[in-house]
Symmetry: C2
Subunit: 231 residues, 2 copies
């Protein structure tokens, strides 16, 4: 109880849920804190996997870039999330880049120590399997959306999903609580910033959303849900 606050944070993360305190203490002893101001990069695509992080506060973006510079956003990470899942799977290089989009605090530790601890305490490994399963399902869903839905619906789905994981109630509706540009939305939905801009403008007129520079407020979630689900 009167434990270091970092141990509490670890204990509440999905990866370390249900893990005995003494094991957490052990991990904590090897860990450190690190701040990443908005815009700073945690690691680049193809970087060697040396360190593993858990988000304490803030928001980060995972991207993947092609040889010819095209970029897509794989997902956003928030408090409690694992940063650099390759450290879990034993991968040698990071398959994507991670950048802070808001000032963030992370708890870090050497990847080797995590792997070693995980192999001695199957509860961590079991949690890791569950966690990877959830992320896998997320991607399945997005793949299906991308393959079968038109742009407008994809944007609606994406906004609703973001509002689930980072929504903040305000007087004008649910606000996505981190900077989110048209370009970002385009990279999440497989379209261009132009099309996103046009779509949001359309919704703005209808009063569904209230958006500005790197900011989106969903005024009528129900209306957006209807766009997302209509046949």
């Amino acid at each position: 109880m009167a434990e270091s606050p970092d141990i509490d944070i670890l204990a509440r993360s999905e990866l370390f849920r249900g893990v005995p305190v003494e094991v957490l203490r052990e991990l904590h002893a090897a860990s450190f804190r690190r701040k990443f101001p908005a815009g700073e990069t945690v690691f680049q695509q193809e970087d060697a996997v040396t360190t593993f992080y858990i988000v304490v506060v803030g928001r980060l973006r995972v991207t993947q870039t092609t040889l010819d510079g095209q970029q897509i956003i794989i997902r956003y990470l928030g408090p409690g999330d694992v940063v650099g899942y390759a450290a879990l799977t034993g991968g040698a290089a990071h398959p994507g880049a991670v950048t802070a989009v808001d000032d963030s605090h992370l708890i870090g530790m050497p990847a080797a120590i995590l792997r070693e601890t995980m192999s001695r305490h199957s509860r961590i490994a079991m949690n890791a399997v569950t966690l990877m399963g959830e992320r896998y399902q997320d991607l399945q869903l997005r793949l299906r959306e991308l393959a079968t839905e038109k742009v407008e619906r994809r944007i609606a789905h994406t906004l609703l999903r973001l509002s689930q994981q980072a929504g903040r109630r305000t007087a004008r509706g649910v606000e996505i609580a981190f900077p989110l540009s048209r370009q970002d939305l385009a990279e999440m939905t497989g379209t261009t910033l132009h099309t996103v801009s046009r779509t949001l403008s359309g919704w703005e007129v209808k009063g569904f959303v209230d958006s500005g520079r790197r900011r989106v407020i969903i005024a009528k979630p129900e209306a957006l849900a209807e766009v997302a689900e209509e046949v």
Copy 2:
């Protein structure tokens, strides 16, 4: 060595690699064999997770279907692959359906026993994490392709990938060793069977491929690779 052949098969699968023989024997005791003729379904989407399988021989297709009947193919499974990863992650329902596309033999066992054994032997859990990580990366790649590439390149990439995992050298080129219709390719690449048909016809003329009813032979893999990579 003079072990049951099924134990050998388990030992060679990615999930059970490096697991002590006595553990495999234990699992084997709870397992059974089952045949699925081509076309038969192993489980449906949303089915409760009760049984877990490893492919011995054959080929199966994992699909996901939307409410309005749109379908996409998530992946194909072959010898050594895990069928029903939800049994690993502890999921309650299968997120996709699995159907045999060729006559297949599977080794099955109760999901609960697998989970229990996995939690006692972290090597299995570690393997499961690695395995899920690989599948996750596959999806990341496909998501990126779908989001950034034109149809022709996506089809080329898909065929090349299929030839990696199920290619068979023949006099006329590398043949995809299981029935694969235009519709199937469309569901893998997020397009329509019409567009796939037109694309293959085009390649046929150029001599890149040699395709027929539910059959594709890649005559010039290098040419296809060029289509896939050209800027």
